[in-house]
Amino acid sequence: MREQELRHLIEDVREGRLPRRSFIQQMVGLGLTAPMASMMLMHAGVAQAQTAPAYKPSKRGGGGALKVLWWQGATLLQPHFANGTKDQEGSRIFYESLAVWDGEGNLVPILAAEVPTRENGGLSPDGKSVTWKLKKGVTWHDGQPFTADDCVFTWEYAREPATAAVTTGVYKDVTVTTVDSHTIRVTFAKPTPFWATAFVAAEGMIIPKHVFGPYIGAKSRDAPGNLKPVGTGPYKFVDFKPGDMVRGEINNNYHMPNRPFFDSIEMKGGGDATSAARAVLQTGEFDYAWNLQVEDEVLKRLEAGGKGRAQIVQSGDIEFIQLNTKDPWNEVEGERAHVKSKHFAFADPAVREAMSLLADRKGIQEFIYGRTGIATSNFLNNPARFRSPNTKFEFNVDKANQILEAAGWKKGADGVREKDGKKLKFVYQTSVNSLRQKEQAVIKQGCQKAGIDLELKSVTASVFFSSDVANPDTYGKFWCDMQMYTTTMTQPDPERFMDQYLSREVSSKANKWQGRNITRWVSEDYDKTYAAAEGELDPVKRAALFIRLNDLPVKDNVIIPLISRPRVRGSNLKLMVPLTGWDLDFSQLQNWYREA
């Protein structure tokens, strides 16, 4: 039924009854991404809003230095080897892609002359290829012209397994050919509704053939270009100290008029989020700071100084708790948390439901996250039209108590519930992060009121998020009863994100715990729906299937979504930055300027 409602909504947008922005908001509310919503509209032929950014300066340069603070410093400047977003951002100062996603999920052309659509012949009717027209007259920082050959080279470079590029996944299943010196065609093996993957956004930064040509394959990491980037971006490379500082100066041959505004850029790394907030909001030493994971109370206090403000941008990141349905404490067939085992408490759906009722999301939002987090039950606030009965979020200790009593878990002498001699005592782990420790404290208190005892464990982030086979504390192993972290929707297309609940992705010894299904939850319904979504060509039907996929693990209470985390950045009051939650912070770096 969802599909019908989606189609109605799209019609509403086409006929102007529903603003495009509201449609996108509602889609995000159901767990989809803004780019995906935007693609749905495009596919239905609803023209993309051409919002010109409000860029005021009338000449290039003269803006002085732009100083930005990234509390995790960039360690390398090659986008196809990036270890995380910090490296992608560092690279983005110098390199560009054909198009980027703005805050509303629209595609904004950078190196492309225009966004491919069906009308201009960019999108083929059979959905199997995209033709991009490149901007003419663009030069690399060393003066060489930017042509289609560079795009084709980037594709070959990234898809070659010996190069070991981290962007391989995007390029290995497509074919890229030159149509002429400034036109390329990207061809897919089968019709692909979400075509904006290759050469778009962070994975799409294009590298010059004349610099990287000899270094494709096994020699890739020896290329001097890895540390001295030559790109088409608004700033030219000056200096780089890994982990500490990246410096660039204005590119006077930049391909967009009157841009960039600043004469130089300096990206400093290191330190922690709170002092970064102070540096921008209180002392004004820096103009912009990334990822301020700080309590909202503190942010508000710092903003009161009047020098800067916190920018809160909607994105798809969710902080959630996973409940382990398998037994992590005993070995079955020589393996802990074997998929065939059962957790003594969480295998009982009543206990899971009770846990979901004991998470005080509102308290967490109000007192810990403030503006920087929104309590959620599904993957964001559920708009009225699509609300289903049990995806409302509730904090109800009495109800939880009742459910547990009814399921046979009685309170023992020490106040902890037990059944058949097994007490409800769980180990609850997460990474070291002051906000997370506070959330743990709140959840622990809620559980205590219902007779559940939690032992809190915090693991240092580099170990928790590692893929080390020997370490028992990684999130992939999930060898405790519950764990919590933020899952980031780094991909605009949620398909690669929803494979986390497939039975074939169950994380186990056999796949060295690299499988993406960490909760080891198995559901035939989910597998079937996912298979249907994979093969579905109609983006609306596909969206409906995804919404259903979202609901399944949540209704089963295997995961307890807590807070939707928009991106929080700090910027000087006079700095104008077009930020987006669906792409890098620097995705529109050329449009940054400072008001007089």
Partner: protein, 310 residues
């Protein structure tokens, strides 16, 4: 005729055997004379009594979250104020104090015992043994603490937990780890003292009197080399309490909700400008502990020093 003359009244007093005093009792008497040290001993014992018995008297729970009482200053309901989750600081300090004091004193003891042992052996021997022990010291000094910590904790945490329970296991691990990294300076200091002391005349005199090397070391050289050891002890207590908070910041120490003094100090650092009380009390507590141990140490040193007239 000898013995027939009655003694004068004072004779009795002189001939009465003097009450025997052992060196330890003598030292204790001298210690008591050192007023500051004596007072400090009392303060220290009071601190210990507070943290041991306090939670029995002050029953407010340590982790009751009360969002309406965030960051309040001292009041009747919360004599030391509250933190940013509204938890009562007095209760947390009393509870955490047990752990902080225990960790501080235990780690200090371990560091001193090891350090003195190794330093004494190295300082009183020569050649091969000295070189070997110094190699060991240099090795420990060069080891990068963090990877070693990760390794030790990862290797031993589960087995210790199963034997001593979660808190006991972590406690032993932390004391061992902190103690392991603080004995080297003590060893080198003691060794240096030994080098200069063993050439002194009184050692030669002792040897001439027939004292065995062991006795020379233990009764003659060691007591005189305790000066730097006592200073090291004071510094080690503070360092151990703070090191424990650094460990828990990295996720390697006690669980994050256990309010050791170092941890409370660490949690408070971002709110210094509006909630100074949050940092003031644990800071003062650590300072007080260090102060009292320091003065007790001073008193000890003066009491044991035969040259000082008290």
């Amino acid at each position: 005729m000898a013995g027939l003359t009655p003694a004068s009244p004072t004779d009795r007093a002189i001939r009465a055997p003097a009450r025997g005093t052992s060196p330890w009792r003598e030292a204790w008497r001298r210690f008591r004379r050192h007023r500051v040290a004596y007072a400090s001993l009392f303060v220290l014992l009071t601190l210990v009594a507070l943290v041991v018995l306090g939670p029995l008297a002050w029953k407010v729970p340590i982790n009751e979250i009360d969002f309406t009482a965030q960051l309040q200053g001292p009041s009747l309901a919360h004599p030391l104020g509250t933190d940013d989750l509204g938890q009562d600081l007095l209760a947390r300090m009393l509870y955490g104090g047990r752990i902080s004091l225990a960790v501080g004193l235990a780690a200090m003891t371990m560091a001193i015992v090891f350090g003195v042992l190794i330093g004494a052996i190295a300082g009183s021997s020569r050649g091969a043994i000295d070189s070997a022990l110094m190699w060991l010291t240099d090795l420990f000094l060069s080891l990068p603490q963090l990877p070693l910590l990760l390794l030790i904790i990862y290797l031993f945490r589960d087995s210790l937990k199963s034997v001593f329970g979660p808190e006991g296991g972590v406690f032993i691990l932390i004391v061992a780890v902190i103690g392991c990294f603080r004995w080297m300076p003590v060893a080198r200091l003691v060794r240096a003292q030994f080098f200069s002391l063993r050439e002194k005349e009184f050692v030669e005199a002792a040897r001439a009197l027939g004292a065995s090397p062991l006795r020379t070391v233990v009764r003659h050289i060691l007591p005189n080399s305790l000066g730097p050891v006592i200073v090291a002890g004071t510094i080690d207590v503070a360092a151990a309490i703070i090191a424990e908070s650094t460990l828990s910041f990295l996720g390697l120490g006690f669980p994050p909700d256990i309010p050791t003094w170092g941890r409370i100090l660490f949690d408070s650092k971002d709110h210094l400008d509006i909630a100074a009380h949050w940092a003031l009390f644990p800071g003062a507590a650590i300072f007080l502990t260090v102060l009292t141990i320091n003065f007790v140490g001073d008193g000890l040193r003066d009491a044991l020093d035969p040259r000082k007239v008290m």
